[in-house]
Subunit: 423 residues, 2 copies
């Protein structure tokens, strides 16, 4: 991250942001646009549509930052209070701004509609502001200076707000701070290693010092983030990525331009292999994942979700006495499902999952979370038992991804790890 | 909203929240849980994983509020700094908390995994805190007092955080503030009507004046929110819900205690019907949805995802010359798939989807988004063509939900609407 970035804060106003109704998504969008230019946000705040709270927060953020970007509260209705709060914060009167009024009128002419008298309120701005044009809506923005900070007031409608950050805010800021060093980021997706284990392995990797690393969990993955700033950022990140790949090896399943399923699909296409799936507890999720990328018809012949034993027998050829002897949730049944679907579909690879996703159906011997996976190919077969923790959704998600990982490892001739570590 | 609520602030920590990587969704979830008990959030803040910023913000929020809820930064890695910042803010040392350590150990025993030494860091807490149990993960939370405020520190993992707000935060807060007027909310999930159409129908419904209404879209559903405050809230909401149901009728597929798939599953169980599915473009998503609720083995015999024509022929009995004549994406093929899976599986109901999810494979006659659905039951058959708009994921999601809706309508003897309106 650049240390040369001025202190920047974002304020989003709106009662609906604090009542649990909706997520604030504007802040992320502003931050993302700024980050692309090396501008780092230090703090973001949401306050409700209450004049006092907005005034107090504007005053504080202006005192503590160099740039403050405010979204929302510039509309025509009564709960749009931002301009009034801004006037109060900087001790100036609200006046009808002719330039803003003309912009609003022009906008209505442009879209061929009559201006509602309520829209005139949107031209009531603090005295002596710079009006910021809004090409996509009726509410003009404005800029004013308070303490040592530039405050940019933008409408809350995401499309309008985003366009104005790009056209009005960023050009001014980068002109004022010519030494900004845009930072670059890479992300690597890790599967089947826990977050502490990833951190431990990376702590031993000799990563370039100028590269910042971070972690996050997006179940069922651990995400590694690498960030570098300055002219050599690309080379530094190349080196860092190489070192990370040396440390974590085949546990990295995708980078930020890829998806796990997309990579497995690509492998299947490149190697011209076809697969058939047999699922039980995952109910079709593995098949759904494998068909998320376009072009899946090149490699998936069929999937059978054999929920009932009759389906396992008829559609997969699993002998009923095998199910009776070992149970439908067993290594033997998983292997018979994989072999069966492979034979029925005539594909090179058969892949099967059977297990107990819960919350019911567990026993002492086979508790909820017990899952068997089996993969059969020409001269190859592998099956094993797992115990995945968590609720029904987590067990199903982790099991389906683990089966997808088996496919990746089979296709890439990679070893099958002994442990299963959720993030 | 109640005016009797104490001042409450939420602080979410995480560099990824300010770099444009992800939206902060925890704040909304905390606010939503609090709102259900009449607790109003006054301000929410995000700061990055920097100790000074967290410390400074904790100090300010504690000085300005009565309750502060902090999420994130309790994990085992180096960028998890919240406990250290909390210790600094209240001028106490960090100590290894025995109770917290025992909770972490117990958690690892419970999930049958070895504790990583890095996890010990999660028991390093400020001196003299109350430890808050985390039933769903390794990071214990804690509560401490600073200035006149109670500060609740919770992990950032949404499922863990939510459970702890409900179990540890809310009971304490409502005990301290017995005069709160809880507002109550009900949500109704609408499928296959657009948001403007829902708004139009509701504007004609005679809803009680004291009930606030709101709308939102959670694809593929439109969500109707009804909210009321005070002692008569329940009766008011009963009446409002009745009126909404009168206006929107069978387009309401679930309330906030239910899921769409769960309701369809319950209908299947009550009516003791069994179903078999045949999917093509949705790749297993319909089957995954129908097996999301526990107990799906009572009603789902099997699913065949017949991606290849060979699979349609062998596993569903679709004649190859039918596919040649009409194409695999046709009403005739959908009907043959539904009939075929029903016969093979020996279930009362056969349900099939075939279509073009894109981005490739579209033609002038059958563009991307063309989907056929067919349902066959005893003395019943229905098939029709749809055109769903959007990208691959939206087409697949909407198609699978539409098929689920067919099942609901068939089971409930409801009419099949002529139009398909995405939200």
């Amino acid at each position: 991250m650049s240390n040369r970035s001025p202190h920047i804060a974002i304020l989003a106003t709106g009662t609906e942001l604090l009542s649990g109704e909706i997520n604030d998504t504007n802040t992320r969008q502003v931050a993302e646009l700024l980050a692309g230019h090396g501008l780092v946000v230090r703090e973001s705040v949401c306050v409700a549509d209450r004049e006092d709270d907005i005034t107090r927060t504007l005053d504080r953020l202006a005192a503590e930052n160099r740039i403050v970007i405010i979204t929302g509260g510039l509309g025509p209705t009564e709960d749009d209070l931002t301009a009034r709060a801004a006037a109060k914060a900087c001790g100036r009167p609200l006046i009808l701004n002719d330039e803003a009024l003309e912009q609003i009128r022009a906008r209505f002419r442009q879209i061929g509609r009559t201006m509602h008298p309520g829209n005139e309120k949107q031209a009531l701005l603090p005295h002596k502001v710079k009006v910021l044009a809004n090409q996509n809506g009726t509410a003009p923005g404005f800029r004013l200076r308070l303490h040592e900070a530039d405050l940019y007031f933008l409408p809350g409608v995401p499309s309008e707000m985003k366009a104005m950050v790009a056209s009005a805010v960023i050009p001014e800021v980068i002109q004022q701070f010519p030494d900004l060093q845009p930072s670059q980021e890479r992300r690597l997706q890790v599967f089947a290693l826990s977050e502490p284990r990833v951190a431990e392995l990376l702590s031993k990797a000799d990563l370039p010092q100028k590269v910042e690393t971070g972690f996050g969990v997006t179940f069922p993955f651990v995400i590694i983030k690498l960030r570098a700033t300055g002219e050599e950022a690309d080379e530094q990140l190349d080196l860092a990525e190489l070192r990370v790949r040396q440390s974590l090896g085949d546990f990295i399943v995708a980078n930020h331009n890829e998806t796990f399923a997309g990579n497995v699909g690509r492998l299947l296409r490149i190697k011209e292999k076809r697969v058939a799936l047999a699922e039980s507890c995952t109910g079709g999720l593995l098949s759904k994942l494998l068909t998320d990328p376009p072009g899946a018809s090149a490699y998936l012949e069929r999937t059978v979700v054999s929920y009932a034993n009759s389906a396992k027998h008829q559609a997969l050829g699993v002998p009923l006495d095998l199910i009776e002897t070992y149970g439908a949730v067993s290594k033997e049944c998983a292997m018979a499902m994989a072999t069966g679907i492979r034979t029925k579909a005539g594909t090179e690879i058969g892949l099967a999952i059977t297990g107990i996703a819960g919350p019911d159906g567990g026993t002492t011997e086979k508790p909820v979370g017990t899952v068997f996976i089996a993969l059969v190919g020409p001269g190859f077969e592998h099956a094993r038992r797992y115990h995945f923790s968590g609720d029904r959704e987590r067990v199903r998600t982790f099991a389906a991804h683990m089966a997808l990982d088996w496919l990746r490892r089979y296709l890439g001739r990679l070893p099958f790890p002994e442990e299963d570590r959720s993030p």
